[in-house]
């Protein structure tokens, strides 16, 4: 159980970092919506996990936060990528690509024997 959650949290962190890289500073709600949209609404972001994940990333120094004003003139807390965060994103993205590549080789039917 704990392992699954970790994997999920790990991927969530990657998604958050990637979202912030793509869109620049963004608030929690925006991050959640963007992830959901990008996944083609296949993922439902559990906010109970999102906010602790944001806090964790901030504690690790990968993102920083500041209060700002949204498009609708609403006060919101904006998160943005730090330099350490960019590095981390590159590293994690590479690792993730590797993982998926390996898994894809395993899962692709018939290729091994050929």
């Amino acid at each position: 159980m704990a392992d699954k959650k970790d994997v999920w949290q790990g991927t969530l962190a990657l998604m958050v970092l990637k979202t912030l890289q793509a869109l620049g500073p963004l608030h929690g709600y925006g991050i959640a919506r963007r992830i959901e949209q990008t996944s083609g609404d296949l993922l439902a972001v559990n906010y109970g996990t999102l906010y602790p994940a944001l806090l964790k990333l901030e504690q690790e120094g990968y993102i920083s936060s500041a209060w700002g004003t949204s498009d609708n003139n609403r006060r919101a807390k904006y998160y943005k990528l730090t330099r350490a965060g960019r590095k981390q994103l590159d590293k994690e993205a590479r690792e993730w690509e590797q993982t998926t590549e390996i898994l894809a080789r395993f899962l692709a039917p018939g290729k091994e024997s050929a």
Binding site: H27, G28, Y29, G30, R33, N46, Y47, G48, T49, Y51, P52, L55, K56, Q59, E60, G61, S70, N72, R74, R75, A76, K77, A84
Partner: protein, 889 residues
């Protein structure tokens, strides 16, 4: 590196908690608002937009709690939070907090105080260098009449073994039982002295505070007139004169040069000494008499790498060899090697008292813990809803268990702190009570790091004992049931109450066991105290005299002194009669072996033994010991005339079971020429107890001082008025004969007996206090439970009363419920307490109390107390107003 930064950041987050909390709330709020706006744009109506957004967010408070837990240092923060919360809860219930703290404080203080005593006796190390390496060699007597079988050695053994031993680096001998008359400025005084070989202090590894200790060779003839003073004597007698070293003092009228003063902390409990003088031993003395003169303890320093068991094995071999070489004197005598600390602990002989006291206070603490666990369970019932709400709001169950445990710890900390204050008071009290002899005065009793650690440890242990059960219990309760059943108070309570009932039953059972045990012990003491000692204690003044060898070298000189003293005392106004004796009535057991006609050739080890007292003819009259048959000594039974002896009833019955003892002959092993003379038994007198609390009588044999002179005598004066008022005249009567003769321990015999029994009385009163505490605590526990359940049943009682139940029925109902628990507890306790007497007999060697009536009596006492504890809430229940009770929710 990044990990450290992360933790640093989290530590920073623990500060400014409130600001962060507001920010989190604002962030959630803005999130929600944006979501609602989007939903509105998507065409939902306002209500639906809000509802959907809330569902999506998935429990606002739970999200907040999740964030809270990963923010800052959760462990630290949660702990601080729990502590704050716990403190608030305790402050909100001052009554509960007070009762629980007081209960716990009493239990902890009882344990910590007893521990301070145990620590002083067993854990404090003697004030010598490397105490683990310092051993005391003692001999083991073949006939052990005393509970501690650690005896001194003879000089020939010391010399032989010092040569043969390979396990010790160095060995010193010391005679701890010497004494000397200190004269000069002020009244002559008898001081206790230790005679020691010159290497004694270097073996111990201690040095003088002022001056020096003995130098090599100062234990030889001609160089031995040197003395070292104890700190106490130096302060008391010499006004702490810093120039004392080099001065000369008079000991037994001979000049001794002061070479040093020992530091105040140099106290070896069972080797108390006010002065140390050199011990001169002559290796050439190897006679049987020298071998029988056992007065030396061997102090030895273990060689490098040698252990105590190795040394012990070696000395057992050496003692065995001595047995073979000198069977006449050494047969049956063994040797044992103990560290100095173990030796002192054994000599202190407080093992049984320590076992009994620690188990008693342990029971008290258990009862206290059961009480508090009960109180916490009761509160948990009331707090069920609060806890259920908190769990529903996102607090983990584990978190709740932790919260409750934190509260228990907080309570334990309060109880421990209050207990510590009581412990300071308790140890002061105990220390002032422990002043009745030199040995207990030497105890270093105080609240030190060990006692502090013990108090903290036992508080923690108590918290676990009383906190864990209620905590686990609340952690498992069903949230939905509690929340749904708003009025489930009584039924939810009942489940918790089953556990409380078990606790209270156990408490009462513990109290029965404890009360039975202490009851038996105290009864034993009371029986000992109330038994007649065999003589009249009222108006009897005593003093101890020890004539020095230099002034009174032989029997005739000693006899002349005492004859003159008795004549002086006879003429004193206010004195009815006076006498002397080597041992005071109930003043101790001085043993002698003897032979009857036909037993002349029995070897010493197989001869019968009796308590031996040399007295003046007036002794039996003065002490009011009844003459049963025959006659007592006369002033005319002088030396050279047919020798006589008086025996006690027990002696007559035991050694002359079938014949008339009067006129029979006894040979008493007094040593020297007189040992081979026959004495004729001329009278039989009543038995006198050897010790004040003795349960049995020893056979006794008396001799006339005119026929068997002695230098050391106790003086007895039967006074008309208060014995103390005669004290100055008694001293004057001695000093008018010899103004340099010390008169020691001038006090009434009642005071002497009081000193001897002070330890037993202290022990008895401590047991009494703890037993009373245990009973009170379990009564409070029972009362608390009955009052609480009755409170929960107010409505039910109201209904019963409306349906026609009268007051007596209600009274019976409540009383019945409480007493069911009490009687179960008493029954369990009685079964558990059945083997108590056997257990006590196993712990205390000479414990003999019938006491079969004690168990039922104590059960009845607890039954009465329980009845009272149940009666108060039962009375209250009968006053319930049915209408008010029915409306009450």
């Amino acid at each position: 590196m990044s990990l450290a930064r992360k933790w640093l950041r989290r530590l920073g987050e623990t500060l400014g908690r409130d600001r962060r909390e507001r920010e989190l709330a604002a962030e959630m709020e803005s999130h929600l608002a944006m979501h609602i706006e989007d939903n509105l744009r998507a065409g939902m109506n306002a209500q639906e937009a809000r509802r959907q957004a809330l569902i999506k967010l998935g429990g606002l408070e739970q999200t907040k709690e999740l964030v809270r837990e990963s923010r800052g240092l959760p462990m630290l923060e949660v702990l601080v939070h729990d502590l704050r919360y716990g403190a608030r809860m305790l402050a909100k219930n001052p009554g509960f907090t007070f009762v629980a703290t007081l209960t716990l404080a009493l239990g902890i203080a009882a344990n910590a105080t007893i521990f301070s005593f145990v620590s002083a006796v067993m854990l404090k190390r003697p004030p010598v260098a490397e105490p683990d390496q310092l051993a005391v060699v003692s001999s083991i007597s073949p006939v052990s009449s005393w509970s501690v079988n650690l005896n001194p050695f003879s000089a020939p053994n010391f010399f032989a073994w010092k040569k043969q031993s390979r396990t010790f680096a160095d060995m010193a001998a010391a005679d701890p039982y010497a004494s000397a008359s200190l004269t000069g400025d002020g009244d002559p005084e008898r001081v206790s002295a230790m005679r020691a070989t010159a290497n004694y202090f270097s073996v111990l590894g201690v040095s003088a505070q002022l001056g020096r200790t003995f130098a090599d060779g100062e234990d030889r003839d001609g160089r031995d007139h040197e003395v070292i003073l104890s700190h106490d004597l130096w302060e008391r007698r010499f006004a702490a004169d810093s120039g004392i070293v080099g001065k000369t003092i008079l000991l037994n009228s001979a000049p001794y040069q002061v070479i040093g003063v020992m530091p105040a902390q140099f106290l070896l409990r069972s080797f108390p000494a006010q002065i140390w003088i050199p011990l001169v031993l002559h290796e050439s003395q190897q006679s049987a008499a020298a071998r029988e003169n056992r007065n030396l303890f061997i102090f030895a320093r273990l060689g490098p790498g040698v252990t105590i068991p190795e040394a012990n094995a070696e000395f057992q071999r050496l003692a065995h060899a001595a047995e073979l070489n000198f069977p006449d004197t050494e047969k049956g005598w063994g040797a044992t090697v103990l560290t100095l600390q173990d030796h002192l602990i054994r000599e202190f002989n407080a093992g049984p008292a320590i076992i009994l006291l620690t188990s008693t206070v342990g029971f008290v603490l258990l009862i206290a813990c059961a009480n508090i666990a009960g109180l916490l369970l009761a509160r948990a019932t009331g707090r069920g809803k609060e806890i259920a709400v908190r769990i529903a709001m996102g607090a983990g169950r584990l978190r709740m268990v932790r919260q409750l445990l934190t509260e228990a710890l907080l309570l334990a900390a309060l109880g421990g702190a209050a207990g510590l204050i009581l412990t300071f008071w308790g140890t002061c009290l105990l220390k002032s009570a422990l002043s009745f002899n030199e040995e207990v005065r030497g105890l270093d009793l105080n609240v030190d790091v060990r006692v502090l650690g013990f108090t903290a440890g036992i508080s923690l242990l108590a918290a676990i004992v009383f906190g864990l059960v209620p905590a686990l219990k609340s952690g498992t309760s069903e949230v939905s049931t509690i929340l749904k059943n708003a009025s489930a108070k009584a039924s939810a309570g009942r489940r918790q109450n089953r556990l409380r009932s078990v606790l209270v039953t156990a408490e009462i059972a513990l109290a029965v066991v404890l009360l039975t045990g202490t009851g038996l012990l105290i009864t034993g003491l009371i029986e000992g105290f109330s038994k007649g000692l065999g003589f009249d204690q009222k108006h009897l003044l005593t003093a101890s005299l020890s004539l020095s060898d230099s002034h009174y070298p032989d029997g005739p000189k000693q006899t002349a002194f005492y004859r003159q003293l008795l004549a002086n005392l006879e003429n004193l106004p206010g004195a009815e009669s006076s006498a002397i004796s080597t041992v005071l009535p109930s003043g101790g057991y001085e043993e002698v072996s003897f032979r009857l006609k036909g037993q002349e050739n029995l070897p010493p080890g197989e001869r019968s033994k009796a308590r031996y007292i040399v007295v003046s003819p007036t002794f039996f009259d003065t002490a009011k010991i009844p003459l049963i048959r025959g006659r007592v000594f006369s002033k005319l039974d002088g030396p050279g005339i047919r020798r006589t002896a008086v025996v006690s009833e027990v002696f007559a019955r035991r050694f002359f079971p079938k014949e008339d003892p009067l006129g029979r002959q006894v040979m008493i092993d007094t040593g020297g020429d007189s040992g081979a003379q026959w004495r004729e038994v001329i009278g039989i007198v009543g038995n006198v107890k050897s010790w004040p609390l003795q349960t049995s009588d020893d056979p006794e044999i008396y001799e006339n001082y005119l026929q068997q002179p002695a230098g050391e005598m106790a003086v007895l004066v039967r006074t008309k008025g208060s014995p103390e008022s005669m004290a100055p005249r008694l001293r004057q009567a001695v000093w008018s004969i010899d103004k340099e003769q010390p008169v020691a321990r001038v006090m009434s015999i009642e005071d002497r007996i009081g000193e001897q029994t002070a330890g037993d009385r202290l022990f008895g009163s401590m047991l009494g206090i703890f037993a009373a505490l245990a009973v009170t605590l379990s009564a409070v526990g029972l009362y608390g439970l009955v009052a609480f359940t009755t409170g929960l049943r107010t409505q039910e009682i109201g209904i019963r009363m409306t349906l026609g139940a009268d007051k007596y029925r209600v009274l019976r109902l409540v009383l019945g419920d409480g007493m069911k628990l009490a009687l179960t507890g008493i029954a369990v306790g009685m079964i558990a307490a059945l083997p108590m007497r056997r257990i006590l007999e196993g712990i205390i060697p000479d414990f003999r109390v019938d006491g079969s009536w004690i168990l039922p009596l104590m059960a009845a006492v607890i039954g009465m107390v329980a009845l009272f504890a149940c009666y108060i809430p039962a009375r209250r229940a009968t006053r319930v107003d049915p209408m008010a009770a029915l409306r009450y929710e």
